[in-house]
Symmetry: D2
Subunit: 198 residues, 4 copies
C-alpha cells in the first residue's frame, strides 16, 4: 500500500480544501495517507490583522504540521499551495529548504510528486507556481507526474496540465469547480506511486 503525504499551506482555507479532497480520493483508492499542514511562519500579530486568515489559522490548529519525517515516510507527495508572486509562499519554501539534510542523505529520491495551486486572478501565477515547485523537486530526484490532460475533469477545472489550480474570488470562493479534477490528480499520483513502489 503506497504511502502518500499531502502537504499544504493555506491562509484562508482554499488549499486546505484541495488537500482534503486529495486526501479523500487517495484514501478511497487504498493509499496510506498523511495530510500535513506546512508550518505557518508569519507572526501571530500579522495573522490577527486578517480575519479570514485568523479564523482558518485557529480552525486548523490541530492539523499535524509537516516534518522531514513525513517526507522520508512518503512514497508519493502531493503539494497544494497558493501563489505568492508566481512562486510558492515563503512558508512552503522554508519547509523545502529545511529538508537539506534529508536531501544530502539521498532520502528524497524517487518520490512521485504532483502539485496544485490557487491564485486570486485567473492567470495570477497558477502555472508558474507549480512549475517552480517542480524545479525544486528535480533537485530532490523526485519523479514528477503532473496530470497533463489525462482526464476530462481536468478540462472542466481549467485545463492546467501542470496541476489542478483554482481561482479564488474576492469573497474567498473558488471560481472553477475543481473537486473532481483534484480527486483525479490524487488518484493518478497514487497510481504512478504504486508502479514505482511495487
Amino acid at each position: 500500500m503506497a504511502k502518500i503525504a499531502i502537504f499544504y499551506y493555506s491562509s484562508t482555507g482554499t488549499n486546505y480544501q484541495l488537500a482534503q479532497w486529495a486526501e479523500s480520493a487517495a484514501k478511497e483508492a487504498g493509499a496510506d495517507v498523511k495530510l500535513r499542514k506546512i508550518k505557518e511562519t508569519a507572526p501571530e500579530s500579522a495573522i490577527a490583522q486578517n480575519p479570514g486568515w485568523k479564523e482558518h489559522y485557529d480552525a486548523t490548529k490541530d492539523v499535524p504540521e509537516a516534518t522531514n519525517d513525513d517526507i522520508e515516510w512518503a512514497d508519493g507527495m502531493i503539494f497544494s499551495v497558493p501563489t505568492r508572486f508566481g512562486n510558492v509562499p515563503s512558508q512552503v519554501k522554508q519547509f523545502l529548504d529545511m529538508a537539506g539534510g534529508l536531501w544530502a542523505q539521498g532520502k528524497t529520491i524517487n518520490k512521485v510528486v504532483s502539485a496544485m495551486s490557487s491564485a486570486q486572478n485567473p492567470h495570477g501565477g497558477q502555472e508558474a507556481t507549480i512549475l517552480t515547485l517542480y524545479t525544486s523537486m528535480f533537485h530532490w530526484g523526485a519523479i514528477v507526474a503532473a496530470p497533463g490532460y489525462t482526464n476530462q475533469e481536468l478540462f472542466t477545472a481549467g485545463g492546467n496540465p501542470y496541476g489542478v489550480s483554482v481561482t479564488v474570488d474576492q469573497n474567498n470562493k473558488m471560481v472553477e469547480d475543481v473537486e473532481k479534477a483534484v480527486k483525479h490528480q490524487a488518484r493518478r499520483t497514487l497510481e504512478i506511486t504504486n508502479m514505482v513502489v511495487k
Copy 2:
C-alpha cells in the same frame, strides 16, 4: 518617436486580433509601428486540412512577414503568440533562432519587450509561454517590461502579470474581454521604450 515592431503568429486569427489592437494603441500614442506576421512553416497541405487555419492563412497573405531587419529597426517589440505545449510555436522559435547573426553583432541589445499569448484552456500554458519567450529575450539583452498589475483593465482580462493572455473556446471565440488590457500593454511598452530611446 519610438519604433515599435509587433510580431505575431496566428493560425486562426486570435493573435492577429491581439496584434492589431496593440498596433492601434501604439499608433494612437504616437509610435512608429510595424505589424509583422511571423512566417508560417507548416506545409500548405497541413493548413488545407483545417478550414479555420486555411481561411486565416489566405486572409492575411498580404501582411508583411517579419524579418531580421524588423528586429534591428525596432526600439521596442511586442510579441503575440499562441501556446503550443506551454512554449512558443515552432514558427516563432524559428524566427527567433534565425536572429542568431543579429544577436552575435549585439544588435538585439536594449530593445524593450513585452508579450501576449493565447490558449484553448484557461490554464493551458498562457503563463508558461510568455515566461519562456522572456527567457530568450534575456539572451538578447532585451529589457523586459511585462504589464504586471499596472492597470485595472489587466484584472478584467484575467490578471496575467507576464502579459495579456486570452482563452479561445471551441468556436474560436475569445472568452475574456481583453481589448483594453492589450491596448494598455501596448501603451506601457511604448512608454518604457520612449524612456530608453529618448
Copy 3:
C-alpha cells in the same frame, strides 16, 4: 523489455554523441532502443555556410529521422538538444508540435522522460532549455524523471539536476567529462520506465 526512444537534434555533433552514449547504456541494460534524429529544417544553403554543420549533416544522413510513430512506440524517451536562446531549437519544437494529433488521442500519456542539453557558455541556457522541454512534457502527461543528484557521476558532470548538460568550447570540444553521467541518466530513465510499464 522497456522501449526507449532517444531523440536528439545536433548541428555539429555534440548531442549526437550524448545520444549515442545514452543508447549504448540503455541497450547494455537490456532496453529495446531506437536512436532517432530530429529532422533538420534549415535550408541546405544555410547548412553549407557552416563547415562543421555541413560535415555533421552529411555524416548522419543515414540516422533514421524521428517520427510520431517513434513517440507512440516508446515507453520512455530521452531527449538530447542544444540550447537556442535558453529554449529548444526550432527543429525540436517543430517535432513536438507535430505530435498534436498523437496528443489529442491520449497517446503521449505516461511515457517516462528525461532530457540532456548543451550550450557554448557554461551557463548559456543548459538549465532553462531542459526545464522548458519538461514543461511541454507535462502537457503530454509524461512522467518526468530528471536525474537530480542520484549518482556521484552527476557531480563530475557539472551537477545539473534537471538533466546532464555539457559546455562546448570554440573548437567544438566538450568541456566537462559527461559520458558516465549520461550513461547513468539513461539507465535511470530505463529503470523508472521499467517500473511504469512492468
Copy 4:
C-alpha cells in the same frame, strides 16, 4: 541621481561579496546606493551548527536589514542570492512576500531589476534561481534588465545571460572570476535605471 538598492542574502559570504562588488561599481558610477542584508530567519541554533555560517552571520551583524522602505525608496534593485533547490532561499521569499502591502499600493511598479546567484555545482540552479526571481518581479510590474551578453566580461564569468552567477567549491571559494562581470551588471542596471527615472 538614480537610487539603487542592493539586496542580498548570504549564509557564508559569497553573495555578500557579489553585493559589495555591485555596490562599489554603482557608487563609482554615481548612483545613490543602499546595500541591504535580507533578514535571516533560521534559528540561531541552526546557524551555530555551521561554523562558516556562524562566522559570516556574526561578521555582518551591522549590515542594515532590508525593509519595505528600501524597496519603495529604490529606482533600481539588484538582488544577489544563493540557490536553494533551484529557487530563491526561503529568507528571500519571505522578504518578497512581505512586500504585499507595498505591491497593493502600486509602489513596486517600474523599478529596474537585475539579479545574481550562486550554487555549489556549476549547473546547480544558477539559471533557474534568477529566472524564478524575475517571475516574481513581473508581478511587481518591474522592468527586468538582465545582462544578456552585453559585455565580454560576462563570457569570462560563465556567460549566464540572466544574471552573473558563480560556483562555490567545497572550501567556499568562488570558482569563476566574476568581479568584473558583477561590476558590469551593476553599471548596466544603473544605466537602464537612469533612463527610466530621468
